[in-house]
């Protein structure tokens, strides 16, 4: 009895300890990256490295300058850079979120359809795979023109482009996941006279969830990429893609602004990813061992 009483507070401490260790680790990784960047920069400038690229204050601005740039005005009339960038991130985030929702729903529907018919799978799956090698971003300008001709606002067109990049991993994961249910479980349900629909929702769908979420994590990133790149041919200036193009033009004068924009873009990508991970933690309690 005594030993149980002693051990219990220890067990409760464990999550706190783990959180603290993780925090320290994050700090260590960030410091390491910072040190590597500044060290490389200092050495490169001191020895005048020309390879692999010319190291100077323009190619590698100080990290503190990038952070500092966030809290300054790019020009006297403009608001603080961070305000502009957060607005742009919200704009791009909205495109990506809509695209993600459309792509995930559409991908699941197509995947569920293909999972139920060998014939359809043979006929269509090669094209689903081939569709990924098409640089959709190449036809982005045409997509915007098409959708504009049916009165779709440009930011929704960008969401459609993001949706295209999102749907593929979901289709593949849905097919694999829906077919991953244990045959014995399917037979058991059949023996209780469960129809296809019941088997799908009560058995196959829950079994497919882990597969689905590993696809959604990939799709989260893809939707952000789609939104950022899709903004370029659509000449949408309000989002992060527009901001990147804009600051890229002034790179030789104010390199830190482009870097600051990319830091925000990276943060947006990671945030989207973490939202999906959090949703997965909520929905999928147990993790089957064979999900990559």
């Amino acid at each position: 009895m005594a030993s149980v009483a002693v051990e219990r507070p220890l067990a409760e401490d464990a999550p706190v300890k783990r959180a603290r260790r993780r925090g320290l680790l994050l700090l260590a990784v960030l410091v390491l990256l910072w040190g590597f960047w500044e060290g490389f920069r200092a050495l490169g400038i001191h020895y005048g490295w020309q390879r692999p690229f010319t190291v100077d204050a323009t190619s590698m601005p100080h990290i503190h300058d990038m952070i500092w740039a966030l809290f300054q005005r790019p020009n006297p009339e403009a608001p603080l850079l961070i305000v502009t960038l957060l607005k742009a991130a919200a704009f791009t985030g909205r495109e990506a979120a809509l695209g993600f929702a459309m792509g995930a729903t559409g991908g699941f529907a197509i995947g569920a359809l293909l999972a139920h018919s060998r014939m359809l799978q043979r006929g269509l799956l090669p094209y689903v795979v081939a569709s990924q090698t098409i640089p959709i971003l190449a036809i982005a300008p045409m997509v915007v023109i098409w959708l504009a001709s049916v009165q779709v606002t440009p930011w929704v067109s960008v969401a459609v482009i993001a949706a295209y990049l999102t749907f593929f991993p979901v289709v593949i994961a849905t097919i694999r996941g829906l077919q991953a249910a244990d045959h014995r479980a399917v037979e058991l349900m059949r023996s209780y006279a469960a129809n296809r629909w019941t088997v799908l929702w009560k058995l196959r769908f829950p079994m497919a969830l882990p597969f689905l979420f590993s696809a959604l994590r990939i799709s989260a990133t893809a939707s952000i990429v789609g939104a950022i790149i899709g903004e370029q041919p659509s000449s949408i200036a309000g989002g992060l893609g527009g901001a990147i193009l804009n600051f890229a033009q002034y790179y030789s004068f104010q390199p830190q602004n482009l870097w600051a924009t990319n830091i925000i873009a990276a943060a947006l990508g990671i945030a989207f990813f973490l939202v999906v991970v959090a949703a997965e933690k909520l929905v999928v309690r147990r993790a089957p061992e064979h999900v990559a």
């Binding site: 036809i139 990147i244 873009a265």
Partner: protein, 260 residues
């Protein structure tokens, strides 16, 4: 027998292809869709065949970028993974960051690599393709090297086998399927990454720069022809990796799904 099975596997896909092209052509011609909305397949084919030399030249230029980036990124990914997987603690500490870094929209850094390297060179695009390839390969190889069954290691130890031999005989074969899954993803990423990086400025010998220019000049037939070249090269690259995989992992049962 073999041939009949092959035919049964591919006939539906072929049917869909023919029907799809037919419908497209009929749709465009029948409804008089304007050419800037959607050119007819026949018009794209004309643009394709009359510009073939130039198109393949552009495609080859971009393909070199993709191939170079693929080689650099995958080699670096494999090397880092071997180092990291060697020390369990290091591996579990770094993995979450590698996975999070994979969520960064890396293509958005193309303007920076353009500023670092001359935008007209292949190097500026290769770097983007390399970084794109690095993360999936790194993450998957670490996973593969660490998914070895403890019993296998124990068996090898009981034979007093050295660390290097265990690596060669147990860890590498276990990791190969993981590696090839990542390589397939990387082949597609490298091609798309190079093309998109070219949108941010690049040599007019390259596919991406031309697609962007033709689309903005409303030469959509040529833009589509360039997209077809890009897809052909992308599919070829992907299939080459799949073929390599079949050679390298002959003992593994084949998967049904082409893309998974």
């Amino acid at each position: 027998m073999m041939l009949a099975r092959r035919a049964r596997d591919w006939l539906p896909a072929l049917g869909v292809f023919v029907a799809g092209i037919g419908l497209w052509q009929g749709f465009v011609k029948g409804l008089h869709v304007q050419r800037f909305l959607l050119p007819a397949p026949s018009a794209i084919w004309t643009a394709f065949s009359s510009n073939q030399n130039q198109l393949w030249h552009e495609g080859w230029f971009t393909f070199q970028e993709a191939l170079g980036g693929f080689a650099i990124g995958c080699t670096a990914g494999i090397l880092f993974a071997i180092i990291v997987a060697r020390w369990d603690l290091l591996g579990s500490a770094l993995m979450p960051y590698a996975i999070a870094a994979n969520a960064i929209p890396i293509i958005a850094f193309a303007p920076i690599t353009n500023a670092w390297f001359d935008p007209l060179t292949k190097t500026s695009k290769m770097v983007i393709a390399a970084v794109l390839c690095f993360f999936p390969v790194f993450v998957n190889v670490v996973r593969g090297l660490r998914s070895v069954k403890p019993e296998q290691i124990e068996l090898m130890r009981s034979y007093a086998v050295g660390e290097l031999t265990v690596f060669r005989l147990v860890r590498v074969p276990t990791a190969l399927p993981f590696l090839f899954t990542a390589l397939r993803v990387a082949s597609v990423l490298a091609m798309i990454g190079s093309i998109v990086a070219e949108y941010y400025g690049g040599s007019l010998d390259a596919l991406g720069a031309n697609i962007e220019q033709d689309a903005s000049l409303f030469q959509f037939e040529k833009a589509w022809a360039e997209i077809i070249i890009a897809s052909l090269l992308g599919i070829g690259f992907y299939l080459a990796v799949v073929a390599l995989e079949r050679l390298a992992t002959r003992w593994q049962p084949r998967e049904e799904i082409v893309g998974a």
